[in-house]
Amino acid sequence: MLNLTIDGKKVQAEAGWTLLDTARQHHIEIPTLCYHEAVEPFGACRLCVVELRQGDNSRLVASCVYPAEEGLEVHTMSEKVKNVRRWILEMLLSECPASEAVREMAAEYGVDSTRFEVRNPEEECILCGLCVRACAQVVGANAISTVGRGAQKEIGSPYLIPGEACVACGTCVTVCPTGAMRARFDRVRGVPEVVMAKAGK
């Protein structure tokens, strides 16, 4: 049994719990986007960051992966934390303006417009990679992956055409936090035209 404080509240945790587990067990809410209970935590969206304070020095860690430790002093709503969340959400607004979920979450943090230029007003995908991880860890099909890297990154099956590996179960659509997978799904599922792909390329 580990003892720590979250937002001043004394809480207990078992070894092996993450900070997010612990917080949720004690009804303390922490926002997440790239987190889903069905798959391993990824620590990518950084919305779940919390501040760890130890005397004067403090740092932010992703609560979805950071293990609960004895005596930690955790703050889930400090200014530092909010600043990170606000910026991420504002940038998401410009990156994937079409996403309802993002707009709602942004509004909760008082972000309702973006100062940055909007490249694609249709875009919904936040590249949290949940679909990819679900396909690999839940379904075991490995039908989709991230393609490219950095700003050019996107989600898709090899060569962005329907592939053999997809079992069309729709798990990716269900776990997608923004609904972006709906549009992509039809470019992934379906019986691949083996002849065209293999013989005709």
Binding site: E14, G16, W17, T18, D21, T22, R24, Q25, H26, H27, E29, H36, E37, A38, A134, V138, V139, G140, A141, N142, E164, A165, C166, V167, A168, C169, G170, T171, V173, T174, V175, G179, R182, F185, D186, V191, V194, V195, M196, K198, A199, G200, K201
Partner: protein, 809 residues
């Protein structure tokens, strides 16, 4: 129902996504009060470490052997719970999930109390299903005998090589002992591969030398029987002796496609205008011809643009061969400008160095072959050009070929004319991806070059090897949710084998007359439509049985209010769409109650009938969109079964619309909601079925009828077969057949009711009394009753000159 299990229910608050919306306290109280449930707990997040710890603790302390989690999507979360709770000994089938969040909390404006009530009904139904579960034992699969590679295709060698690399014994059945001959003949199936012959030879030598490979020379394949791990393969003897029989653990078919010439409409004459195979033959026999050689990549004009790549690669390699050996030979490749030239930068340079011309023509105009010239249209300046030739070489026509088709037939691969042999499309579980290859490799699957054929061979071998290696270490077990046959009930009618789409059902050889079936658990995809079709209930989908489904519907039907709808959704269509509606928080009519089913085709008509019998007033079955069924025909089969129920509802005097089949695309929840709302409203207009004694008696008759062997038999005949291409099946004289079926159904319906009546009342009836009791016309009734007496189903005695009918003592 006998409580033969200890069931724990865990209610998930899911942060704020369930808790405030559903009154979990109230729900927990309801459940605790229910005799079926032994333990109830509410958790912030059942699926997170803290929640899982709590469940594990409860299972161990309270000795629970069934667990229901009321949380979110089973499709997404079930696997995690199975893995996390495996340590407690709970196995697949003993854990079930109710999507409280997505089917109740998020999708309506009901009050928390009302939602709790709805949740209670769903959870109780699922619990009843678990209660009715009889967990199966783990079936271990062993491999008796080596791997056999038959069909004689070139992939035989790569497959054998891969197997021997992994030290697995194999038998290869080839037409000739001499691999030199094979190489000599290779171009008949794979022209333009000379550059690869050395490697091919190396592979063959390798196989020849391997102690793990046994080479046999046999005649035609005559039969294959048995199951994964223990097959019997029979060939005719080439010398005309007695058939040769082999016991093998696994079978890989290596089949090559066939090359035909283009025929006269491209000017083919077999001498000056030839196709690739003939060109190769020429190179073998006469060497490189001099003069002007023109390769025309005419696959676009031949109607198969997708083969242009293969053809031009072959042309390129032959062209290279010619130029490298004979400076006096001019080579040109004439190709459709819509086609990308399939050469890498380096090859372009090499082609230039060798002086091979690539000439594009305007694909809009078809080139014409003339004496010594081809005329074509220049895509640049749109002028007609003439290209001289001494020999014109056309692309080949590609097909499966006679022998391959024969073998495919014996192996039970349905071959559709004009198609290639892609077997087993089902991709229900990921491990099934590529299983087609594990079974069949070579250009008879789909046109490909030598390299790809060999790759498929290797892949097939390694897929097979994975299984063999597992089996060798005793770690190969059959999936839990597959069909099994009760040999004592099976009369070997073969209906299941006929409608099975995964090839999992095999006859057991050696029994005379009707041959009972059994299931190859490693091939069965667990679709279960076969089980739902068996006239004698001899097939069961273990750990997911019809009786479990009946338990669910009867429990839920008893709980449902008059205007509430019982529904089944398949995991790939209806249920998935409902889940996604929940994720999006789309609102729809809360009177909708959906139960989960793996494939809509798993629903035995008796499950549907049971629903009405136990109090449901309507039933909505939501499957995948037509032709998207993951089990191929589950949906079509349900279509037939729904028709049966409609007929019976009609005979009972109820509205046929009370049962309906619908389709949902998981990616279109809005559509799903329209489906639900319109059905619910329609049923509200109909109102409930009055539960008076007459109606109850009729419903009992309905239920008995769908379990009647004869009815199920006739129904079985209407079910779509794998070779039928159109939804919902295109058997001949469908209308006439349907009329006959109507006849059969009405006969058996009345008979069932008579039987029920006599059994329930235990007293003799005169005909007019029967007619009265069943509100049936005497005339047809008399015929049925006579038949029943004839069949010995009931007895007849005369008392003061009047015929009385009663159950036989």
């Amino acid at each position: 129902m006998a409580d033969n299990s200890k069931i724990g229910v865990f209610l998930c608050e899911c942060g704020r996504r369930i808790a405030p919306l559903v009154d979990l306290k109230d729900l927990a109280a309801k459940l605790e009060a229910d005799p079926l449930v032994d333990y109830v707990a509410v958790e912030p997040f059942s699926c997170l470490a803290p929640g899982l710890d709590q469940i594990t603790k409860a299972v161990e302390e309270k000795g629970l052997d069934r667990v229901v989690i009321a949380g979110c999507e089973a499709r997404v979360m079930l696997k995690k719970f199975q893995n996390e709770l495996a340590a407690t000994g709970l196995e697949e089938g003993q854990i079930d999930i109710v999507n409280l969040r997505g089917h109740v909390a998020q999708v309506s404006d009901l009050s928390p109390e009302e939602k709790a009530a709805k949740g209670f009904k769903l959870i109780k139904a699922v619990a009843a299903g678990l209660d009715a579960l009889a967990p199966s034992v783990h079936e271990q699969v062993e491999f008796k005998g080596p791997v056999m590679i038959l069909g004689g295709g070139i992939a035989t060698y790569s497959a054998a090589q891969e197997l021997s690399r992994r030290e697995i014994e194999s038998i290869i059945a080839v037409s000739t002992d001499e691999w030199e001959d094979e190489i000599r003949m290779l171009h008949e199936h794979y022209p333009g591969e000379r550059h690869y012959y050395d490697r091919m030879e190396a592979i063959m030598r390798d196989v020849d030398a391997s102690p793990f490979v046994r080479r046999i020379t046999v005649g035609e394949l005559s039969s294959v029987s048995g199951r994964t791990g223990e097959y019997l393969v029979t060939f005719s003897d080439p010398m005309g002796g007695p058939p040769r029989v082999y016991e093998v653990g696994a079978i890989i078919a290596a089949l090559d496609g066939q090359m035909l010439n283009q025929g006269t409409n491209f000017g083919h004459d077999g001498r000056t205008v030839i196709c690739h195979t003939e060109a190769e033959e020429l190179l073998w026999t006469k060497g490189v011809p001099e003069g002007q050689i023109v390769f025309w990549i005419n696959d676009y004009e031949a109607g198969h643009p997708e083969y242009a790549y293969l053809a031009s690669r072959a042309a390129w390699s032959m062209a290279r061969y010619m130029r490298e050996r004979s400076p006096l030979t001019k080579v040109t490749v004439l190709y459709n400008h819509q086609m990308p030239v399939p050469l890498s930068a380096g090859e372009r340079a090499a082609s230039r160095k060798l002086g091979i011309d690539w000439v594009a023509y305007d694909g809009a105009l078809r080139p014409t072959v003339q004496a010594g010239y081809v005329t074509y249209c220049d895509p640049e300046d749109h002028t007609e050009q003439e290209m001289p030739w001494d020999r014109l070489i056309l692309s080949p026509r590609r097909s499966v070929g006679q022998e391959a088709t024969k073998v495919a037939h014996v192996l039970g691969l349905e071959h559709v004319e004009g198609h290639f042999l892609e077997p087993h499309k089902q991709r229900v579980r990921p491990e099934m991806v590529g299983r087609a290859e594990a079974f069949l490799a070579g250009s008879a699957r789909y046109p490909c070059d030598l390299h790809e054929a060999l790759r498929q061979g290797r892949r097939a071998a390694s897929k097979t090897a994975e299984m063999v290696e597992k089996a060798q270490t005793g770690e190969l077990f059959a999936p839990r949710m597959v069909c099994t046959v009760d040999q004592s009930k099976c009369i070997g009618c073969g209906l299941c084998k006929e409608i099975c789409d995964c090839g999992g059902i095999e006859p057991v050889e050696g029994h005379g007359g009707n041959i009972p079936r059994h299931v190859d658990p490693m091939v069965c995809t667990g679709g279960g439509t076969c089980a739902a079709a068996c006239p004698y209930h001899a097939l069961t989908l273990q750990n997911n049985t019809t009786s479990q489904r009946e338990a669910r519907v009867s429990t839920l039907s008893k709980e449902l209010a008059a205007d509430e709808i019982l529904s089944f959704g398949c995991a790939w269509g209806g249920l998935a769409a409902a889940d996604n509606a929940g994720v999006k928080g789309l609102k729809y009519d809360p009177r909708m109650y959906m139960l989960r089913v793996g494939c809509i085709g798993q629903l035995d008509p008796s499950v549907m009938a049971r629903a009405f019998l136990e109090g449901a007033n309507s039933l909505l079955l939501i499957g995948c969109p037509p032709e998207d069924c993951h089990h191929s025909y589950g949906l079509d089969h349900t279509w037939s079964r729904v028709n049966l129920i409609k007929k019976l509802l009609h005979l009972c005097g109820f509205d046929r619309r009370r049962i309906a089949l619908a389709h949902a695309d998981l990616n279109n929840p809005e559509e799903y909601i329209r489906t639900v709302n319109s059905f619910v409203n329609q049923m509200a207009d109909l109102g409930p079925i009055e539960r008076n004694s007459e109606n109850l008696e009729k419903l009992a008759g309905l239920y008995a009828t769908v379990n009647n062997a004869r009815v199920r038999w006739v129904l079985g005949a209407t079910l779509r077969r794998p070779w039928e291409e159109i939804y919902p099946g295109n058997q001949r004289n469908a209308l006439a057949f349907d009329r006959d079926m109507m006849g059969v159904v009405s006969e058996e319906f009345i008979k069932s009711r008579v039987a029920n009546l006599l059994r329930d009342t235990q007293k003799p009836y005169q005909l007019h009394e029967l007619a009265n009791a069943l509100q049936a016309e005497e005339k047809p009734l008399m015929e049925s009753v006579r038949e029943m007496v004839g069949e010995g189903l009931i007895g007849r005695m005369h008392k003061d000159g009047k015929a009385h009918y009663m159950l036989r003592a």
